[in-house]
Symmetry: C2
Subunit: 314 residues, 2 copies
Amino acid sequence: MIAVGIDVGGTSIKGATIKNDGTILHRFSMPMDKYKKPEETIGELCELVNKTLKENKYDDKVVGIGIGIPGTFNNETGVIVSCPNLPTWAGFNLKEFMENKCHLYVKMVNDADAAAIAEAKFGVGKKYNYVLMITLGTGVGGGIVINKNLYNGNLGMGAELGHMVIELDGKECGCGRKGCFEAYASATALNRETKEAMDKNPNSLLHEIVHELGGIDARVPFLAEKRGDEAAKEVVNNYVKYLSEGLLNYCNIFRPNIIVLSGGVANEGDNLLNRVRTYMKLHNYGMRKAPEVIIEQATLGYDAGKIGAAALYF
Amino acid sequence: MIAVGIDVGGTSIKGATIKNDGTILHRFSMPMDKYKKPEETIGELCELVNKTLKENKYDDKVVGIGIGIPGTFNNETGVIVSCPNLPTWAGFNLKEFMENKCHLYVKMVNDADAAAIAEAKFGVGKKYNYVLMITLGTGVGGGIVINKNLYNGNLGMGAELGHMVIELDGKECGCGRKGCFEAYASATALNRETKEAMDKNPNSLLHEIVHELGGIDARVPFLAEKRGDEAAKEVVNNYVKYLSEGLLNYCNIFRPNIIVLSGGVANEGDNLLNRVRTYMKLHNYGMRKAPEVIIEQATLGYDAGKIGAAALYF
């Protein structure tokens, strides 16, 4: 069995034909112009899908298209509700449009959810029944996969895991609330804290490293801390605390077997993860005698979105 | 089909034989001595169950016993992990013990979860697929019922919904963390705030009402506020804010169709609920264009625990 998996990103749309064991057969991609009308962009995408399927005569059956959307949609009708970075897409019935053009069944999924499904079925979470995935990127997204099924919520709009307030009246969040997990644990938040530390500490090594890397990104405070910088240490420690407290909340709420971290900040790997593990163990998951939760980095990288979207059929 | 539903409380154990439409046939109860060994208490309970079943010759099949436990347990083995108010119960294999004495299959459930199941199957949530129940009592408990199935988490230890930090480094919580939802939204927390307001405001009507009622309980600030007391108004407004923010978190995390509130504070009914609804609408569930979440009071009252425990079989 084969499905098409597509990941809609801010600068490109990437897709692949994928076997039901999670292996990628053929990749395709096209640039993304976010100001174009969705009919035009998705029209082009459909041509690319049709071409890929025509060029590669698969022996196995192609069962459908799964597409990961960076936003929310009504999973009963297929209409996009809101894609913050694709302003023209709201109201567009993507499912109907694609089904008409490709003559294949189309399933939609939130992009963070797609990655969660991929890691739960084919990645580091494949041995477990309760897999929580948290993406630490521009925002904080996530998904909970229960017995290999994504938790959806009413109209498919559940598990907006970045938008849990962890500090009442705290930092402003893009969602309109104050103090959300995303406002502390995203790469954007980490960069904001790095910037603030730089402003406060003109002699910090942070300045030097930003210069070396050509700009601020999630690596900066970790690199500066390794070289013994005190301001960076404070940034990292605070980040670990907020991230860990949010994850502890999710341990109590979902009691997953494993939390899989992905996205820019998670690329820090065990240097970050070991601290998070230590913090979380100290706090014993907020409840005595609760079963331990494994914290791991995602393993499927940039393919996770595509694989997870295709895996809606597997 | 008939099942036995049992609710283990701090002062008594209450049970009933219950039909699979949720109706109660025969009730039974016994006092609870929390310092007795569990073998003794559960031994007595089993005799009571056997007697009830013998005295009432049911035409329908009695399929098993469901028992709601005020704590955590391993739902694979049946061993109690921790019941904060029943110190001698930890380590006791309740399932095995009861199955041997009653010759019926025994299923265990957390007591807050049992109430959630009952409301989702037979109460105010029966029309909905995603039902979140939050109990505002001595602590804050809850459960999420997805398509009539309780979410369990690893080893049945998920959905400890009171232990989500909403104010980092905030009020100390019984669980060991600081700033949990429970530390602000429980009846205990409300009483603490009432007490503090009384200490700060010696002329507040709160003193008079506590005197009238013979002590502090969740009704006090609401009654004082109705009579125009400013200190009480502040207590109520703060409570509504913390409760609503916690519920908004759960809207984003689970996107339920309905949140059902139960427990002492929820008895305030629409006087509390309307404020919570207003606060939550103003904050638009933290995400633009998210489907509205209905907020309602539980309807099954003290029977919810029994009905939900029995409903593990329905």
